[in-house]
Symmetry: C2
Subunit: 348 residues, 2 copies
């Protein structure tokens, strides 16, 4: 018997492989199913998140510089730790590479890792270096710390909670579109330089994402512990559905409140793409999606970098987007599926 | 400028990439340079070890069943935790695979992981599932716990300490030779079945290694904390040199005391290979090499599964093997180098 992996999809596959797992050790507090696993020690909660990135699937070295790749491999893992309301503290970095890479290439990659670690105060504590017969493979595991009772899972959203999003959405996806199109245009024409002027923000969002350490700090300073939180790596739609499903809840979000940068809008117009779709499903924004009680409305409304986009409802109302003209559309997860080999979109 | 990675070797490369790392976070106690990193929390020491395994480099699916591969991917990481005198508690398992694998293949792989976890009381707490354009890539991170003050590093061996080895050596390497030779012989002849009768132990050592949880337990029961410890994955010579270098020490070990199984000896004879070389440099034995004070001689001599093979000397005496006829040979690290693409030998 042979069941194709694509027939289950990523989440179906993970469910099938992990459904029988029972946690038995005292320190194993929470396993598969959130941005990071949670280990519990007498005075501390410890968070663990891991990613395996494959060349040609998660990144394209024709336009991703190795230093940026290192930076991103680190920061997307930091983002998972922040999404649990924790602080990243350590990472291990493993890399398998073929003969086409030189020591200098590897140093570039590590320079990116070091820069990210320095900026976010994370220590490199180990890893593994090996060879690959073909492409580059990168595995990063990040370990973070959280305070007892202040870890935030995906499953705590309650009816009437406010839904908040940080930063703006869709820019990383637009940056990728830009890189992919320039790659296609300039294929074979070595002398022509791509014109990225005025689009720096989009490229930066795609190539060098910054996790929202600042928001976690602001929330702590305001003494707010979100009821649920998740990072937006697969697109707002997909992550909202995750958060609502795990919280046994529904939601209503408003198109007019979805934060979008000016450059993203200009580029969507130029590429003739639906802007809201890009923001809802683009992915790789590494922003935070979280919910807070209605009582926090005033503080959250005034918080820099945070936008209120809707509210949590009863589960039977489903998850829906209210458009500018008042229509209601059911949210669909169109997040990137790393098991379908789509080449037009990458994710980490 | 382009420096070939092979020109530095694995350890030279790791040194170059990690030489500037400073640990800054309070919980980062020990980073790169031992079997596992050590994190320190108020009541607990936490150990972290990680491995990245690539198809065609670390394993050959023409003779390695996926269930065995899963089992081994888990247990070799447990071995790293035991080698710090810790107990493995959690693992994350990431896998990237191409379309040629089915859901059932993945279930076989996970069945091996589950079996190893059940046997050694380890919880699966997370991971990542993705696609690969070519071969299979596996990344496992293991987290363990140790008691305050009882973590054992590579660097604590002292002059006149006794050098101990668990189990027997060279069998995993012989198992690999056997599999590689049968693969070569039967290439293209599908009806012929390889004859492995009487060689089960060698195959088991290669395909399904067991980490020495039992020894760690026995040492704890005898209230012995080794002065230094390392697991023998790259061969006894290589690991002895690591241990001595990091301890600023030398050593003398005795050929006649190196533990070798009967089947290993028979096969070395049959293949016309030097038995001591196989035991010293074969690798993948996942046994423990450790040192204890002379005062523990009596207890250690009587401990099941442990063999005394020599003693630690002053550093200026170097590391040497004393042969049966009394000659002294300097030890050379001929451990497997994953950066040289040797196909005749695998390691994890």
């Amino acid at each position: 018997m042979r069941t194709e992996i694509a027939s289950l999809g990523e989440f179906g596959l993970i469910r099938r492989l992990t459904q029988d797992i029972e946690l038995k050790n005292g320190s194993s507090k929470y396993g598969v199913g959130d941005d990071a696993a949670v280990l519990s020690y007498p005075d501390k909660e410890v968070l663990v998140s891991t990613d395996l990135l494959m060349e040609g699937v998660h990144f394209d070295l024709t336009y991703v510089p190795l230093k940026h790749l290192g930076y991103k491999a680190a920061t997307v893992n930091f983002s998972d730790i922040y999404a649990m309301n924790g602080i990243p503290k350590q990472i291990t970095v493993s890399i398998a590479l073929s003969k086409r890479f030189s020591v200098e290439d590897l140093e570039d990659f590590y320079a990116g890792i070091h820069l990210a670690c320095k900026r976010y105060n994370v220590d490199i504590i180990g890893g593994d270096t090996s060879s690959s017969l073909t492409g580059l493979a990168i595995s990063v595991t990040c370990i973070g710390e959280g305070e007892k009772g202040r870890i935030v899972y995906r499953n705590g959203a309650k009816e009437n909670n406010l839904i908040c999003v940080t930063g703006d959405l869709g820019a990383a996806y637009m940056g990728l579109q830009l890189l992919e199109r320039e790659k296609a245009v300039f294929k074979g024409e070595e002398d022509v330089q791509p014109d990225f002027e005025g689009k720096e923000y989009l490229l930066e969002r795609q190539l060098k994402p910054e996790p929202r350490a600042d928001i976690i700090k602001r929330l702590a300073e305001a003494n707010i512990v979100p009821t649920a939180m998740i990072d937006i790596s697969d697109g707002l739609s997909s992550e909202l559905i995750h958060l609502c499903t795990q919280s046994d809840a529904g939601c209503r979000i408003y198109e007019e409140h979805i934060p979008i940068d000016y450059q993203t809008a200009v580029m969507a117009e130029k590429f003739n793409m639906n802007l809201t779709t890009c923001a809802m499903n683009g992915g790789e924004d590494y922003e935070l999606l979280f919910t807070v009680p209605l009582a926090d409305h005033e503080i959250i409304s005034a918080m820099e970098g945070v936008k209120l986009i809707g509210r949590i409802t009863k589960q039977n109302l489903g998850c829906a987007l209210i458009t500018r003209d008042g229509q209601e559309f059911e949210l669909k997860a169109q997040g990137w599926n790393p098991l379908y080999f789509t080449s037009s979109k990458s994710a980490s």
